[in-house]
């Protein structure tokens, strides 16, 4: 019996399992980042929203400046500033409903604060008194996440769980251009698309992963072009245009909430400050690049638009500045107080109940601390 006889006749058909499952074209990002400010789209933007964004941007910038100052004063161990990226930070927080969840990366303190997290509690990780200073459930903000991209699958799982429970909840996950290279990025996007989970991925492409420029991170036409490979739409947006970021995020959130599944959004932005206060950015980039980007400052862009359209006058600016100053003063004052720490907390939350082993260690530390406080030093 030849193989032919065994297998039946020849079929000139394409492989039976193959049907293109969807038209990829709508999933591809536009060639140019979406912009609102300075374009015709700006006219359609809600003035109240723009003013709200403006106030938040000014407050956010002030927060970045204040937090950076606190590192110099030794009140913060380290601060990864998002100066220059405030439009993304603020728009991410504002695009969500109260019941939604935010999954920030380590740089996104500002997004957490804009969503309502107490400005001091948001800095706990970076001050070093604990790992997370706020209750994630209070404002539905996951802990600031240090291991890059690892929070993305969390966002997918949470969104999926909410959907299974019939809750109308969307998760927004933030990650950097560098983080997009991690395997967790890939796995999270794939799970999200397969499960059609109500999750939005916001990549802040700020040009660098510490010192590594985008060209060494990816060879793709854009990071948003990754979306089609998961079967979700990819969108490209000017990350310094707060109105544009807010609109694109809001669309994606609405789409997700309506059961349309996940979206990947790449926001083109720039980190004006060094990676953190501990970093020396002159080692890997020139001043002129930074200067160019200063000319595309998110606050300036929005301020110009508002001013042009007569939506913002000196009083309005002053009000925004005053609110920002009040926040900064409060932050300064509270950060200048030493946090009250109890070393015994080290054992309190490792498990629901400490293991017998931990109880022994707890006793040991307690005895040491008592000896110490009794001054009975060796």
């Amino acid at each position: 019996m030849t193989v032919m006889e065994q297998r039946g006749g020849y079929r000139p058909s394409p492989p039976p399992a193959w049907q293109p499952r969807m038209d990829p074209a709508p999933l591809l990002p536009d060639a140019e980042p979406y912009r609102v400010l300075g374009t015709e789209a700006a006219a359609k933007a809600d003035p109240d929203l723009l003013r709200r964004l403006y106030a938040e941007l000014v407050r956010g910038r002030r927060y970045n400046v204040q937090a950076t100052a606190l590192t110099k004063q030794g009140r913060l161990a380290v601060y990864p500033s998002s100066t220059g990226q405030e439009a993304c930070e603020v728009a991410a927080a504002l695009a969500l409903q109260e019941r939604d969840w935010l999954f920030p990366s380590y740089r996104d303190t500002l997004a957490a604060v804009a969503r309502g997290v107490d400005p001091v509690e948001a800095l706990t990780l970076l001050r070093g008194d604990w790992h997370t200073g706020y209750d994630p459930y209070e404002h539905r903000v996951a802990p600031l996440c240090t291991p890059l991209a690892t929070q993305l699958p969390h966002a997918v799982g949470l969104a999926h769980a909410a959907r299974l429970k019939g809750d109308d909840v969307v998760a927004l996950a933030m990650v950097g251009d560098g983080g997009s290279s991690e395997g967790d990025f890939h796995e999270a996007l794939n799970f999200a698309a397969v499960w059609q989970a109500p999750v939005v991925f916001l990549v802040q492409n700020n040009g660098f992963a510490i010192s590594v420029p985008l060209a060494k991170q990816t060879a793709a036409p854009s990071l948003a072009h990754k979306a089609v490979g998961y079967g979700m739409p990819g969108r490209l947006v000017d990350g310094n245009d707060a109105a544009a970021v807010h609109e694109v995020l809001s669309d994606a959130v609405r789409h997700a909430r309506a059961g349309g599944g996940p979206t990947l959004i790449e926001a083109i932005t720039y980190r004006i400050d060094a990676h953190t206060n501990a970093d020396d950015a002159t080692r890997y980039r020139g001043d002129s690049e930074v200067e160019t980007w200063r000319g595309h400052d998110p606050i300036a862009l929005l301020e110009h638009e508002l001013t042009e359209r007569g939506l913002l006058d000196e009083d309005g600016k002053q009000a925004a500045r005053d609110a920002a100053e009040a926040m900064a003063a409060d932050l300064r004052e509270r950060m200048n107080q030493d946090p009250v720490l109890d070393p015994m907390d080290l054992f309190a939350h490792v498990y629901a109940e400490p293991t017998p082993q931990l109880r022994e260690q707890q006793d040991q530390l307690r005895a040491e601390l008592e000896a110490e406080s009794e001054g009975s030093h060796r």
């Binding site: 790992h131 799982g157 769980a161 629901a352 293991t355």
Partner: protein, 334 residues
């Protein structure tokens, strides 16, 4: 244990039953992993669950272990109780970052606000003729990660009881299933409420006076066999089944060793840096003046797990255990 023998079942069946009962009792329990749905898992432990509870409760995930555990973290954040299956021991490694950096630490990170009640089922160990990467004993990695419970049954009843307890735990539990005991059979009554054992208690599987064999999981039956064989040599061996590596039941173990004065730790995992070092060290700290001889270890060699045709030389067997017992300085006694 006060279980009433009713009908014989395999360990795999007991595990399936535990999953089923847990899912029936609590709608928050979700099973997820590779091939756990339609197929019922490559070991059939999740057999029938997708049919009974639907694909949303027992879900075939994409093939990505970090993604499985990572999404389970998010699900747990939202109040679910994911039970994750890692298809084989070595295929849990891609999920290590999620495990170490998040699963084990989220409760502590958030001062108890965000506990993660996730059960991670990992079929582990050798003796099944598996090709490379299918027979690892990776418990040392889990033990060295604070914030995890590490549990492993050796009997059919414990498989049920401990898995129920693991799923009920508000902490993450790495639940190590000894692959080669999946088909071991025993009589056991799943209706008996006593069959849910608390996590953290070792059990004396066999009483003896001469020396204690401290062991767990797949090595428990081997130690019991060794204890039988040892009678010929005049040794009356006690066998302690740890059942839980974390938390560790110092009380039961130390009490036994204080009684017998001699101990051998037995496990499949490699010796160097393996669980036995910890166990021997803590037993010695606690029982030093009761010890007639150093606590010895019988473990897998410090080599990558061997190919099937050579695994019998690697696995701790009766002879190697008895050799170790023989080296417990019996002369010193008389």
């Amino acid at each position: 244990m006060t279980t009433v023998a009713v009908k014989p079942a395999t360990m795999a069946q007991a595990l399936t039953r535990a999953l089923r009962d847990a899912m029936a009792a609590d709608p928050a329990v979700h099973v997820m992993g590779e091939d756990v749905g339609t197929l019922g898992g490559v070991f059939r432990v999740t057999d029938g669950l997708a049919k009974e509870f639907g694909d949303d409760r027992c879900t075939d995930t994409p093939l990505a272990e970090a993604g499985i555990l990572g999404t389970a973290v998010g699900m747990a954040m939202y109040g679910l109780r994911p039970v994750v299956e890692m298809q084989f021991d070595a295929f849990a490694y891609p999920a290590f970052e999620q495990l170490i950096s998040h699963v084990s630490r989220m409760r502590n990170r958030t001062r108890g606000k965000m506990p993660l009640p996730i059960t991670i089922r990992v079929p582990y160990g050798g003796g099944i003729g598996g090709v490379e990467h299918h027979s690892d004993s990776s418990e040392a990695y889990y033990m060295a990660t604070p914030g995890l419970h590490v549990v492993t049954p050796a009997t059919v009843a414990d498989a049920y009881g401990l898995l129920r307890a693991a799923i009920a735990s508000d902490d993450p539990v790495v639940f190590l299933e000894p692959k080669r005991l999946y088909w071991s059979k025993d009589s056991w009554n799943p209706e008996d409420p006593q069959s849910v054992e608390p996590i953290g208690r070792a059990v004396v599987r066999r009483s003896g006076r001469s020396a204690t064999l401290i062991t767990y999981g797949p090595s428990v039956p081997v130690c019991l066999e060794a204890a039988e064989a040892a009678r010929e040599e005049g040794w009356d061996l006690e066998v302690v089944d740890l059942r839980s590596l974390v938390p560790f039941d110092d009380e039961t173990v130390s009490a036994s060793v204080r009684r017998t004065g001699r101990a051998v730790v037995v496990h499949e995992s490699g010796g160097f840096g393996g669980p036995g070092g910890e166990i021997a060290a803590r037993v010695t700290e606690r029982c030093f003046h009761h010890l007639e001889a150093p606590v010895l270890r019988v473990a897998g060699f410090d080599i990558p797990y061997p190919p099937p045709m050579l695994e019998r030389h690697h696995l701790p067997g009766v002879d190697r255990i008895l050799d170790a017992v023989g080296r417990l300085q019996w002369e010193a006694e008389s």
